[in-house]
Amino acid sequence: MDLSLLFAQALSGLSRGMMLFLIASGLSLIFGVMNILNFAHATLWLVGAYACYTFWFLLQNHDFAVWLAIPLAALSVALVGWVIEVVLIRRVYERELPEQLLLTYALVLILGDLIKITWGVDDKLITRPAMLSEPVYLAGVPIDSYFIFVIAVGFAVYLALWWFLQKTRYGHIVRAAVFSREMVSALGIPIPIIYTGVFVLGIFIAGLAGAIQGPVGSVTLGMDMAVVIQAFCVVIIGGFGSLPGTMVSSIIVGEVYAFAILFWPGGALALIFILTAIVLIVRPWGLFGTPLRA
């Protein structure tokens, strides 16, 4: 097996990993700061894909249709996220985890039906811009040019989040809230606004990821369920609430999957779960998480 083939596999694994990172980062952020396990995260991701379809459909006569549809879809999903936080999520911060899970799982079902009512049961197809329909060759290895865009967005989101959390005042407040919301509150900082902001940010990233997923294949009902489990695996392996952890574990999961397909195609998905199980046994707080929070 020559080196270029391994390189091609690694690249495809990276693009898969980046797609997972875009979904898992918001999930991890929301859990890390707010201690809410948002089961509906992938469903909001799917709403992003459908919204992307709608905006693309309205703009399809223009060359920039997809490029404008993606941010518009992400913003609309963020708006939905804001409504959900204010109306529902806000009421369960103090409740037990099972109750939170019940609420977010109910959201999966409700949003799923709302999608069905809004967009119907037909699969939706977004045509890719012509410039992205041909492969790009890196060192003689073909790669789907759209995934170069996906990888770029993945890293951009990572850097932007890192900068926000490490370098800005709001980021500092958010990180402080992770450790002690009482202390932050005592300093006169309104916790509910911080929480709403974090939730909306997390959902915005989910919407962005969904919108980016749109042109990859077709947009269909039930897509979220195939993805949510893998996103949870990523977050568990990386450590809940850890941004670098989510990044590293996304790449690990993407690459493990890609190389498993090459050498052991039947067991690719199983391998991801075995990996997750091992992490849960050996290091329950994940590779980059801190045991304190458990």
Binding site: L5, S15, P142, I143, V216, P265
Partner: protein, 417 residues
């Protein structure tokens, strides 16, 4: 006074009756045959249907030049738009039957439309000849004795891919292949059947690797690169509908189909003509009725010549099949020596007819015409301004259609429901 007016009315009525019966009698002497066409004039199917409509008009002109059906029933064509939507197709068909008094409905473009109009035609006892849509469901279950299918159906086409690949492998010296199939019941069983059949037909072929993406997979990139790493001579895919869209879209973006033959995609003559420049040479395509496969048949040669003369272009698969549909009807009428629908229906049962694709027979159990499927390698040809199929493999209808006992079983299962 009163009596007089009454007499007048009676007299007027009598005259009316006389006129009416006389008129009807006259009409019966040269009663035109009303042929309904339910095709997609607008919508996604318009591209294929335009050719179909043109071919129907050509066939009708030819027959009318000789006085019409049986030499005395000139054909009147009524065309209604299905908009490629089942509900619109049903409306169009009802209008064709009730307003236009069509005795036969040719159509439709989409299988969903064909399945929807089938019971309507049956209800009004009108013949239905689909000549573009080909879902097996049209003839397999909910069987209507009024429906005659002149297109190789979806089962025949799928089976033909496997049979054709085995033949092509011998021609091209292919040795290795890989499979990619959705990891669930349908994907597993289709893949198993394909592999078993290939083993039987071409034992020298080696299956190098099987790929099983889970159902609902959205990103196939790693599969695509992994398959390319295996460098198989060809790849057989059995991926379910929406996953297939993602797979095809991504594989195309990887340049996959340029590198590895992936037999089974429908590339009809329409695509060969329209994408003459961009279509990758070397693709292994599947089609339903390519005119160039049967130029040795006088009927086909004449049809192509007449079509070219009238429309200044080559006929697509869809034109060929709609043309055959009109002539199938003509031969049914000739055999019945009547335009009475029940008699024509009975005459067509199990009939062997002349078509542009050769002498073909309808099968009794499902009224499916034993027409061939065609597999070949897209290649340039000096005779045409567009690529055609080389290494053409014709898989005969009777070699590819579903065994009768399976049809009986499917209908029994349907009854139980």
């Amino acid at each position: 006074m009163r009596r007089k007016s009454l007499l007048c009315i009676v007299a007027a009525l009598a005259v009316c009756l006389l006129l009416a019966s006389g008129g009807a009698g006259q009409a019966r002497a040269a009663e035109p045959y009303k042929l309904g066409v339910a095709l997609a004039i607008t919508g996604t199917g318009a591209l294929y249907c335009k050719d179909g409509v043109d071919a129907i008009k050509l066939a009708v002109d030819e027959i009318n030049a000789k006085g019409g059906f049986l030499g005395k029933h000139p054909i009147e064509v009524f065309i209604r738009d299905t908009h490629t939507k089942p509900d619109a197709a049903v409306r169009a068909t009802r209008d064709l039957i009730l307003r236009d008094k069509a005795r036969t409905v040719l159509g439709t473009y989409s299988s969903a439309c064909a399945v929807a109009i089938k019971p309507v035609c049956q209800e009004y006892k009108v013949l239905h000849i689909p000549a573009i849509s080909n879902s097996e469901g049209i003839t397999l279950t909910n069987f209507s004795p009024y429906t005659y299918q002149v297109v190789p159906n979806s089962y025949m086409q799928a089976k033909a891919v496997v049979l054709g690949v085995a033949a092509l492998a011998k021609k091209k010296g292919w040795k290795t292949y890989a499979t990619i199939a959705s990891d669930y019941e349908w994907g597993r069983s289709t893949q198993q059947n394909t592999v078993a059949l290939l083993k039987e037909l071409a034992p020298e072929l080696k299956l190098v690797k099987e790929f099983w993406p889970p159902l609902g997979e959205t990103q196939f990139t790693s599969y695509i690169t992994a398959i390319m790493a295996q460098k198989p001579d060809f790849v057989i895919g059995s991926i379910a509908s929406k996953d297939n869209v993602a797979w095809m879209k991504q594989a195309k973006a990887y340049g996959f189909f340029k590198k590895i033959p992936y037999p089974g995609s429908l590339i009809s003559v329409t695509e060969l003509i329209l994408q003459a420049k961009s279509l990758d040479r070397g693709l292994v395509g599947l089609c339903r009725a390519p005119f160039f496969a049967h130029l040795d048949q006088p009927m086909m040669a004449n049809f192509v010549k007449a079509f070219k003369k009238k429309y200044n272009r080559y006929p697509s698969d869809w034109a060929v099949m709609e043309y055959d549909a009109v002539y199938a009807l003509k031969q049914g009428i000739d055999k019945a020596n009547s335009i009475d629908t029940e008699k024509v229906k009975a005459a067509l049962k199990g009939a062997t007819i002349d078509t542009t694709r050769g002498k073909l027979s309808f099968r009794n159990i499902d009224n499916q015409l034993g027409c061939s499927s065609y597999l070949g390698v897209v290649a340039d040809d000096p005779k045409y301004p567009f690529p055609i199929y080389h290494d053409l493999v014709e898989v005969k209808g009777p070699d590819s259609w579903r065994p009768e006992k399976e049809i009986i079983a499917a209908r029994a299962a349907e009854k139980k429901k």
